[in-house]
Amino acid sequence: MKKNNYLENYIIDDVLSMSEQELDQLLEDSGVDPDHAAESLKKAISGVSLRYRKAQFSKVKEALAASKIDEDNSQKNILDDVKKSGKSAKDYLIDLIVSGRAPQGLTLAFREGQDITEAEAIGIIDDLKSLGYVKDNDSETSS
């Protein structure tokens, strides 16, 4: 470490060891109103903090918007596939089960007579796509 860096560390330790009253006195010695200066720095720090938090919020908003677009695109692709097959989403899902390309649990649930809506069927197809059971524009299921 250089000589000046030892001095810097000594100065830092010295300042940190001082009481607020001693700090006030030093600021006054340098021609500064201590409370006014501390308040001015507080405002500056608040500004920095606010800018940081706004930037973080914007990032989160952008990420959420991007995930919403992905979700919308995914749902749109499923609807296109279902439309191309000329079947309802429920029937499209049943085809997947019959062709053995759906998980065992889902097959059992259907056998037990659980009824689902069209929207739920689209959601399940979306999940199956995410899990890799169904590919986009799956031609086999639409035949």
Binding site: M1, K2, K3, N4, N5, Y6, L7, E8, N9, Y10, I11, I12, D13, D14, V15, L16, M18, E20, L23, D24, L26, L27, D29, S30, V32, P34, D35, A37, A38, S40, L41, K42, A44, I45, S46, V48, S49, Y52, R53, Q56
Partner: protein
């Protein structure tokens, strides 16, 4: 331990900034003033504090986990202030003569991984401060001891022969002197 765990995250840093007390802010301003005086900065102390904060947020400086934020920002301020001297010399805004040499050829040989310029700035800074206190032999001895890397306890024992009271009064004179320390502008 992961490298990122060794440093304060930006989120934690901002949180720590928001929690700074009035005393902490005054301490930062005094450090800004002292380092500004030490390295002849034109900027006011608040600008130096803000620059240190911005550098941490930009990720160009890191604060080790567990270190007092005021202490860490103080170190960063010292480093920025010192770096500004090298930048001014590099931009020919400060002539070499202000560093006690006539040309780049006279820079000292590099040591301990330091560039010749860094080494010269370090030595010149201490020399100028000692000159500022040339009429006070106790403060001069204190500066020399600190600059040689002695700890406060060693200084009390070896330099002040165990006389803590004299050490404390000397320390206070150095403290007050550094806040008023202002030489001719090196940037002129």
């Amino acid at each position: 331990m992961e490298e990122q765990d060794q440093h304060l995250s930006r989120e934690d840093f901002v949180e720590a900034l928001e929690k700074l007390s009035s005393r902490d802010r005054k301490a930062l301003l005094i450090l800004g003033r002292k380092f500004g005086n030490m390295y002849h900065l034109r900027d006011d102390p608040e600008a130096l504090v803000q620059e240190a904060i911005e550098r941490v947020l930009r990720g160009s400086r890191h604060i080790p986990s567990g270190l007092n934020v005021v202490h860490a920002l103080g170190s960063i301020m010292g480093s920025i202030a010192e770096g500004s001297v090298a930048s001014r010399v590099g931009r020919n805004e400060t002539p070499f003569s202000k560093l006690g040499v006539d040309s780049i050829d006279e820079l000292p040989s590099p040591s301990e991984g330091l560039s010749p310029l860094e080494q010269l700035i370090g030595e010149q800074t201490v020399e100028r401060i000692m000159n500022r206190f040339q009429d006070d032999v106790f403060v001069n001895a204190l500066i020399q001891a600190v600059a040689s890397g002695m700890s406060p306890e060693e200084i009390v024992t070896k330099i002040f022969k165990g006389d803590r009271k004299t050490y404390e009064t000397t320390r206070r004179r150095f403290r007050r002197g550094m806040i008023k320390f202002k030489e001719e502008d090196m940037e002129a």
